[in-house]
């Protein structure tokens, strides 16, 4: 190997605590010019906290970040100044693009690069420079097209071009392939290789093992806020990386054995078009039996949203056949609920509850027309409050009382209210979409117990989750979603972490890297 390329970024002993939670625990990381460093880790491993510190959105409790210019000595980056990273030549491409859709590509790139009061945009100059950048990097986009008309892959190119145009020497990409088609991923990788050959340093954040091994020179793995590995990619097997990323034995299943009942939910070649860069459903087939929990694993944005919308009644009418106990699933939340599906939404604050309404009102809101809640158009407040009090006791909701606005509750307690609302209707099928995301240990256990009890009682459960412990601990069978496709669910007993990791990172047969 020739002489070591110069250091461009040094993260040294960065620690960040949120209350009792240590999000980053003494993380140190070096980045050199011309290399691609993959930052690998599950959700909650501390990747985004670290990036937020780098870009000045958070201030680290301990540790420093230093940036070196042109082979010089690293100079510390002032903490908590969002503009500082940008000025020091660090650019980031987020999963959610920060583009103005009605403006052209050229305008988006030029935005903010000239003094606001200057009388001219010098678009000609900008166009020439952008053209050179495109030629050098291989990132081709028509500079005069409106960004709103571009594909997701093209928008990503614009974001990268924006960073390059500002002369960045460090490019941070957050899950850049989550929204791309396989062909686009290949194209992106080719571009990244050219860029590092030109001396750029890249941080590539991902959970996809196949991509990490395909593109990165070095991989740093975060788990539970600590750096657990920092090694060259060469010679690392995917299985090894998967084990390091997940970093634990599979938790023993908490399920009691139970013979599944007759088929309950049957999806046969169901297709839903994708939306705004998120995958739809591409010929998904799935059977869920009574008394069975089927876990749906996968990196978010691979069609889980479309599956959840289908079962929640909020999505478009699908192609293919979707039946519950032999009858076609209707569309609209009301029809779906009447058919016996209970829904735990992914975003509990946005879809799950109405914040200023009381706990009792939020509990009643799905049953407004029913005799248990209303008579002749008027609410039966006695019954509603009694039910709320019973639910608060039964589900151990910590709250001032049934009349308190639900926005005062913690996420865990809000989730318990939603759980009570869903389960009180004795649904035949339960859609649980990320049911414990962001919850503490106690609330998570409570949610798990309730889902297992529902399974005991004979309900079927579709459990969509990014938490592998949860999937493996609760499910009878597990399927993995990748780009709108669902792998045939396999019994959890025969499943290894390695196999799950491989399926999630794009199945080996689909993408040999």
């Amino acid at each position: 190997m020739p002489k070591t390329p110069p250091l461009v970024l040094r993260i040294d002993g960065v620690t960040k605590r949120f209350g009792a939670l240590v999000a980053n625990d003494a993380i140190s990381l070096d980045l050199r010019a011309g290399e691609i460093l993959a930052l690998l880790g599950e959700n909650g491993a501390g990747k985004s906290t670290l990036m937020n510190i780098l870009f000045g959105h958070y201030v680290a409790d301990e540790g420093t970040i230093a940036v070196a210019r042109d082979g010089g000595a690293p100079e510390p980056l002032p903490p908590g100044r969002p503009g500082a990273a940008l000025a020091a030549g660090i650019g980031m491409v987020h999963q959610h693009f920060a583009l103005a859709e009605s403006l052209t590509v050229l305008e988006n790139v030029a935005l903010g690069t000239r003094p606001v009061w200057s009388p001219s945009l010098r678009l000609g100059e900008a166009r020439a420079r952008l053209g050179r950048l495109m030629a050098e990097s291989g990132l081709a986009v028509d500079p005069d097209r409106r960004v709103g008309h571009l594909t997701v892959g093209e928008k990503q190119r614009v974001e990268i071009l924006k960073v390059l145009y500002r002369g960045a020497r460090i490019l941070v990409l957050d899950e850049p392939t989550a929204v791309l088609t396989p062909g686009e991923v290949e194209g992106l990788f080719a571009v990244l290789r050219r860029l590092v050959a030109g001396g750029l340093a890249i941080v590539f954040i991902s959970h996809k093992l196949g991509e990490v091994t395909a593109i990165a020179d070095r991989v740093a793995i975060l788990r539970g806020g600590r750096k657990v590995a920092d090694r060259p990619v060469a010679g690392a097997s995917r299985a090894e990386l998967a084990t390091l990323m997940v970093g634990r034995e599979i938790a023993p299943s908490r399920r009691a054995p139970r013979a599944p009942g007759p088929p309950l939910l049957v999806l046969d070649a169901v297709a839903v078009p994708g939306e705004r860069g998120r995958a739809g459903l591409d010929g998904v087939s799935l059977t869920v039996h009574e008394g069975e929990i089927v876990g749906i694993a996968g990196v978010s944005g691979n069609g889980q949203g479309a599956l959840a919308a289908l079962l929640a009644g909020t999505g478009p009418r699908p192609g293919g056949r979707a039946t519950l106990r032999g009858a076609a699933i209707g569309s609209g939340p009301g029809a779906v609920m009447r058919a016996g599906i209970g829904r735990i939404p992914e975003d509990r604050h946005h879809e799950g509850v109405v914040p200023s309404l009381s706990i009792a009102e939020n509990l009643a809101i799905e049953s407004l027309g029913e005799p248990s809640v209303s008579r002749l158009g008027f609410l039966r407040w006695g019954a509603i409050r009694a039910r709320a009090r019973a639910a608060i006791t039964a589900y151990d909701v910590r709250c001032p009382g049934p009349d308190a606005p639900i926005r005062l509750l913690s996420g865990g307690n809000i989730q318990k209210v939603i759980l009570a609302r869903v389960l009180d209707r004795s649904p035949r099928l339960i859609l649980a979409n990320q049911p414990t995301r962001g919850l503490d240990v106690g609330a998570t256990a409570a949610v798990h117990d309730r889902l297992l009890q529902a399974r005991e009682r004979g309900a079927g459960v579709v459990l969509i989750s990014e938490d592998l412990d949860e999937i493996l601990g609760l499910s009878d069978r597990v399927g993995v979603m990748v780009r709108g496709r669902l792998s045939a669910p396999e019994p959890v007993e025969g499943l290894t972490l390695e196999r799950l990791g491989l399926l999630m990172g794009g199945s080996p047969e689909e993408r040999a890297a």
Binding site: G83, L86, A98, L99, A100, E101, S102, L103, E107, N108, A110, L111, G112, T113, R114, P115, V116, W117, S118, P119, S120, L121
Partner: protein, 314 residues
């Protein structure tokens, strides 16, 4: 049918069309500047009234006409600043705040007018802007009187359109304004000041709106009346949507509207008493609603219109 042709072929009709369009030109341009930056300025009707009163009063009290125009613009800018501070850094509802500013500006104008002139029965008049005759050009058939028989304020409106179009499309400032109405996050990540851009746009836009009001008292009616703005502000808001937030289309929209209004006024005379005059008078409002409905489905709203950008809350 002959009556219609007579109207369309008369030079006075085209002159009237441009004259009626002038306040709308100011209003729609002001609304457009605010909305391109992401702020719906429903203070417009009140700002019209305040501009009309302030400009007129300044001249009545002895200032020259152009100083009156400046006073009107300054009053509009101040009211715009109030609206901007409430809706941009504080993030209050643009709908309700706008109505509040309209009520505030209107009542303040009436109050000041009454205090300044406690004992008048009929509204006193001022010497208004006179039409500018451009030698040679003013004598051209149709186009002459329509374009070159107008007051300087009409030319000011046209010039402002040109300036606005240039700034919006050809300068870094304009690029920032267009971006901040689309995606403030993009502006923020490009290192620009989201709130500063928005507040500036609302202040400037409101000053332009106020000139529309000033035209009414300083070039059209020569005096200030209560309720003289007659919903012109609301019509401008509708026209802005109709124009897809583009300066060129906005100018065209204002001119078309002026032509329509001039036409209905003349038709009203031609028809005589056969049809109640109110039927004609309500046409502009109905036309505005119809215009809103026709473009509603495909309206290309600035994506961040009416979406406050509050950092501490996300």
């Amino acid at each position: 049918m002959d009556a219609v042709l007579d109207i369309l072929l008369s030079a006075s009709f085209w002159a009237a069309a441009v004259r009626i369009a002038t306040p709308l030109m100011f209003g729609v341009l002001g609304a457009l500047i605010c909305e391109r930056a992401g702020v719906l300025n429903l203070g417009i009707e009140g700002i019209f009234t305040a501009g009309a009163m302030a400009g007129w009063l300044a001249v009545y009290l002895g200032l020259d006409l152009w100083s009156g125009v400046l006073v009107a613009a300054a009053v509009g800018a101040s009211l715009g600043l109030v609206l901007a501070l409430l809706t941009v850094p504080l993030g209050l509802s643009q709908h309700v705040t706008g109505i509040g500013v309209t009520l505030l500006a209107t009542s303040l104008s009436y109050f000041v007018y009454r205090v300044a002139l406690p004992n008048v029965s009929s509204p006193p008049r001022i010497q208004p802007f006179a039409p500018v005759a451009v030698p040679g050009l003013s004598d051209l058939p149709f186009i002459g009187p329509a374009l070159f028989g107008q007051t300087p304020l009409t030319f000011l409106a046209l010039a402002l359109f040109a300036v606005a179009a240039f700034v919006l499309h050809r300068t870094p400032l304009g690029l920032g304004l267009r971006a901040v109405g689309e995606n403030p996050a993009a502006v923020e990540s490009a290192g620009l000041d989201v709130h500063g851009l928005r507040i500036g746009a609302v202040v400037v836009g409101s000053a332009v709106m106020a000139l529309g009001g000033a035209f009414l008292t300083m070039a059209a009616f020569n005096a200030f009346f209560f309720e003289m703005t007659g919903g012109r502000g609301w019509i401008c808001i509708a026209l802005t949507v109709f124009a897809s937030w583009r300066p060129g289309k906005a100018l065209l929209g204002a001119l078309l509207f002026g032509a329509f209004d001039a036409f209905q006024l003349r038709l009203q005379h031609a028809v005589g008493g056969a049809v109640p005059s109110q039927v004609f008078l309500m046409l502009p409002y109905l036309l505005s609603i119809a215009a809103l409905c026709t473009v509603a489905r495909r309206a290309d709203y600035p994506k961040a219109l009416m979406v406050p950008y509050l950092k501490g809350q996300r």
